[in-house]
């Protein structure tokens, strides 16, 4: 239940940001009401837990993980661009299986999404402890197998 106030605050902040009304009490009251209704619906759907509002990770996904992922994305983008533009298209399509070491479901989903987010590799199926990855080149596949991404997500999870 400790996740619902956080979700409420986030909803309220989003409402204020997108409406742009900070000084009209009537409209703001309506906004608070709609936020409360959304929260009620979310609670009834039972999706407010450590996955729906991952507070326990704090801001670390944005400060520690996202910059590294962005650099990785740029690198693999350039690689895929080279493949697409070159007239011969040197494709080395293959499928590899990656085993995530993250403890929680959330960590595994984050790994799968990060793999998909870097172009050149797409996670095709996720079953139990294995993620099936379709890769456009061996280099891209090797990156996933080496487990740098996995290591970083585990590290992010473990910190208090």
């Amino acid at each position: 239940m400790k996740y619902s106030p956080i979700l409420g605050v986030l909803l309220l902040a989003a409402w204020l940001l997108w409406s742009g009304h900070f000084d009209k009490p009537f409209v703001m009251a309506l906004g608070v009401l709609s936020c409360a209704f959304s929260l009620y619906v979310a609670l009834r759907m039972e999706i407010v837990d450590e996955e729906g509002a991952p507070w326990q990770l704090g801001a670390r996904p944005f400060t520690h993980y996202a910059p590294w992922l962005a650099r990785e994305i740029v690198q693999s983008n350039i690689e895929v661009t080279r493949i697409i533009i070159s007239p011969a298209m040197p494709l080395q399509r293959n499928m590899v299986t990656v085993t995530p070491h993250a403890e929680t479901e959330l960590g595994r989903v984050m790994l799968a999404n990060s793999i998909t987010l870097t172009p050149g590799t797409v996670s095709v199926r996720m079953e139990g402890d294995e993620i099936l990855v379709h890769a456009l080149s061996f280099e891209g596949a090797a990156e996933d197998i080496s487990g740098e991404m996995d290591r970083r997500i585990c590290q992010m999870e473990k910190q208090p």
């Binding site: 989003a14 994305i73 697409i84 494709l91 399509r93 293959n94 499928m95 050149g120 797409v122």
Partner: protein, 115 residues
């Protein structure tokens, strides 16, 4: 117009043009690549670097304001949702009986190809 503004203008130019370039590259990829599972990667290029660079260029234009926050939110949603829909698409295709074409099996022995 002072020096800082000119520098910002140039940065935003470069970002926007880079985003346009990657966007078109992804479009070419989606047309040129030979089969469905490879085409997914072409879509990935436009969704990540194409969208990201264009948004970054717009953010530089907007400066520090509410607009930048909105652009950041849009970019965040795009980045969060695009891999999910991409994965859902790949999974649906795999279950729908579409077999990925593989060029050759990778050298490592721990790999399991489904063909």
């Amino acid at each position: 117009m002072n020096v800082l503004e000119i520098v910002l203008e140039i940065i935003s130019w470069v970002l926007l043009l880079g985003g346009s370039f990657f966007s078109i590259v992804g479009g070419i990829g989606i047309v040129r690549l030979p089969e469905f599972f490879s085409r997914l990667h072409g879509g990935g290029v436009t969704d990540t670097l194409g969208a990201g660079l264009i948004m970054a260029g717009l953010m530089v234009q907007a400066g520090l304001s509410l607009v930048t926050v909105k652009l950041l939110t849009i970019l965040f949603f795009l980045v969060v949702t695009s891999p999910s829909s991409c994965h859902a698409l790949a999974k649906a295709a795999l279950f729908g009986g579409l077999k990925p074409e593989l060029d050759k099996n990778p050298p490592s022995s721990r790999d399991k190809s489904s063909s």
